[in-house]
């Protein structure tokens, strides 16, 4: 524990140091410019394998106005947040990205969130003891969302990419998501579909897999875990539109770039860029999240106990 704490502090310090450096693109340094991936039997660039996304780069560039306690749902100052603290999560120093933040656009490294959405987030995080809908979809074990599912969670960070004729599949270790992306040119689902993860349609642009995602519901969130700080639990609207780009730049690196626009939630489109690292020895474990979900019922039950205590104090 102490060791982890020390490592965490060291990593945080390093993150601060890195933050002093001028912004650099989050692409893997030294990637061979002319490296070309092999092809799958049906001719797709081969991006298969087991990948992880450990990083100590903060999601956003830190700012004086930040209120980490609020983002962790710790409004009463008791230190009770939800999810792993960002500085205690499973990270690997050798996989640091050299960037001030994972948010690369706008150049400030700050997500242009509308004030109503921040208020909504604050309300939900402060009221998780009232109703399960105030938790993020991750804590409810529904989904970490798209693209949220690829943002670093701190643990359960394995992704297996498989490719078959006409499809790319991404198996997410966290909440056992198997996301199947058709790359056969078919159109999006009808507009009446409103999905937690939206509807993904991929195409190959040279060696880059470009995935267009639409048909979202308005119940999810672009980001669900504490490591995403201020953006965690910011609501998504049905107008959310996401474009992901997966480019394998060398044997061991996929550059993941994602453009996010939701005119009802953000004042401008914004982008995240981060690498995925090939880790052939990493084994994905089953994350039976809902089956073992004690956080939601225990939190709610704690809330009802508080209510009873408040009533008892009031009637005294």
């Amino acid at each position: 524990m102490l060791l982890a704490l020390a490592a965490g502090i060291a990593a945080s310090a390093l993150a601060v140091l890195v933050a002093q450096q001028p912004s650099a693109p989050a692409t893997a340094a030294g990637a061979a410019a002319n490296w070309t991936p092999t092809r799958t039997p049906d001719g797709q660039p081969d991006i298969q394998g087991t990948w992880t996304n450990y990083t100590s780069t903060p999601f956003e560039v830190p700012d004086k106005s930040d209120t980490p306690d609020v983002y962790a749902g710790d409004l009463d100052g008791t230190g009770r947040g939800t999810g792993p603290s960002s500085f205690l999560t499973d990270t690997s120093g050798r996989q640091l990205t050299k960037a001030r933040s994972l948010v690369v656009d706008p150049p400030s490294g700050r997500v242009p969130i509308m004030p109503w959405a921040e208020e909504r987030r604050n309300y939900k995080l402060a009221h998780i003891q009232d109703d399960w809908v105030n938790f993020t979809p991750w804590e409810r074990c529904i989904t970490r969302g798209v693209p949220g599912g690829i943002f670093p969670a701190g643990y359960g960070s394995g992704y297996q990419i498989l490719q078959g004729p006409g499809y790319v599949a991404i198996v997410y270790e966290m909440i056992h998501e198997a996301r199947i992306i058709p790359v056969d040119g078919r159109p999006h689902l009808g507009a009446s579909f409103r999905l937690w993860n939206g509807d993904s349609r991929g195409r190959w642009d040279g060696n880059t897999l470009v995935v267009d995602i639409t048909r979202y519901n308005d119940k999810g969130s672009v980001a669900t875990n504490v490591a995403t700080q201020r953006v965690r639990s910011i609501p998504q609207s049905e107008a959310l539109h996401v474009v992901e780009r997966f480019t394998r730049v060398d044997e061991n690196t996929i550059n993941y770039d994602v453009a996010i626009e939701d005119p009802k939630v953000f004042t401008a489109p914004w982008k995240v860029a981060m690498p995925l690292h090939r880790e052939p020895d990493y084994q994905l474990f089953e994350y039976a999240c809902h089956e073992g979900n004690r956080a939601v019922p225990n939190t709610l039950s704690g809330g009802r106990a508080r209510d009873r205590a408040a009533r008892a104090a009031g009637s005294r």
Binding site: T40, P41, D130, Q160, E291, G303, R304
Partner: protein, 288 residues
């Protein structure tokens, strides 16, 4: 090039071409006639890619069962139990006496005990014959993905050898191999939480499942399962059913994220009352 050489070359090329075609058509099992009903991948393996679904009511009950009313009076014929023929060889699951009693108790307490009611991961083989499609994605590499629409469940079948599973899980560990045109999947490391159907048929964590997927035509897989569990059964027993290729236009797996559908059931009593709740009407439940 002289004409005689050209002619010879053409003849050679056409002989080679014919041989190649014959080779491609040949089933990997030596001495068997090539089966033109089996789609094949570039490396000659049966091509199982596609979206598949079991038809029938095995998920209600693996054994012979008559139709009967459902558990909610107000639902009438909706959610009534359809009749079905046994998918179990000999129409008998060879329970040890204590386990037969437990299955009966499970059946009587179906709604409170069936993991499906709570949207829990289904385990194997139940995932295969639930009333939802699943997709097989066969890669050019060593892994085959099976993704189920129900509860976003999935498993990756690793071809070849694998270390024993380090812990028991809901979906277990799947290790595959080809026997002729049959994909044989050895499933171990299953926990004792999953059921076989809505009739309380169950197993322990000692269960060992061997599945056999054999293409019989481009649209049909023969699905056979051998189930062994010395803690619960007196001998191994077998399931067999066809799996059908979904051929609906534009078919794809859709979201069936059922956690959202069971939160009220699981946590409803713990929600803070606001006075604004839409009340549930009282349904009349009766089971069995």
């Amino acid at each position: 090039m002289p004409n005689w050489l050209k002619g010879g070359l053409i003849a050679l090329v056409s002989i080679a071409g014919t041989l190649a075609i014959v080779q491609m058509m040949r089933s990997p099992v030596e001495g068997r006639a090539p089966d033109v009903n089996v789609l094949r991948t570039a490396d000659g393996k049966p091509d199982l890619n596609g979206i598949w679904q079991a038809v029938g009511s095995a998920n209600w009950n693996l054994l012979d069962h008559q139709a009967r009313s459902g558990p909610v009076l107000e639902l009438g014929a909706v959610l009534a139990v359809p009749a079905g023929l046994s998918v179990v060889e000999g129409n008998e699951i060879p329970y040890q006496p204590w386990a037969a009693a437990k299955q009966k108790e499970n059946y009587e307490n179906w709604l409170s005990r069936d993991p499906e009611v709570k949207c829990y991961l289904p385990g194997v083989p139940r995932a295969t014959y639930m009333p939802y499609p699943f997709q097989i994605l066969q890669t050019g590499s060593n892994d085959i993905l099976v993704a189920y629409e129900y509860a976003s469940a999935s498993r990756v079948i690793r071809m070849g050898k694998a270390e024993p599973p380090p812990v028991d899980t809901w979906m277990g560990q799947s290790v595959g191999r080809w026997e002729g045109d049959t994909l044989v999947v050895d499933v171990t490391g299953l926990n004792d939480q999953t059921w076989f159907d809505r009739s309380g048929n169950f197993h322990s964590e000692a269960v060992h499942v061997v599945e056999r997927f054999t293409p019989v035509s481009p649209g049909v897989l023969d699905y056979q399962v051998t189930i062994e569990d010395p803690k619960v059964f007196t001998r191994p027993w077998k399931i067999q059913m066809p799996l059908y290729r979904r051929q609906d236009k534009g078919v794809q797996l859709l979201e069936f994220k059922c956690v959202e559908f069971v939160e009220e059931l699981l946590y409803g009593g713990l929600r803070k009352k606001t006075g604004q709740e839409q009340p549930f009407s009282t349904a009349r439940l009766r089971w069995p």
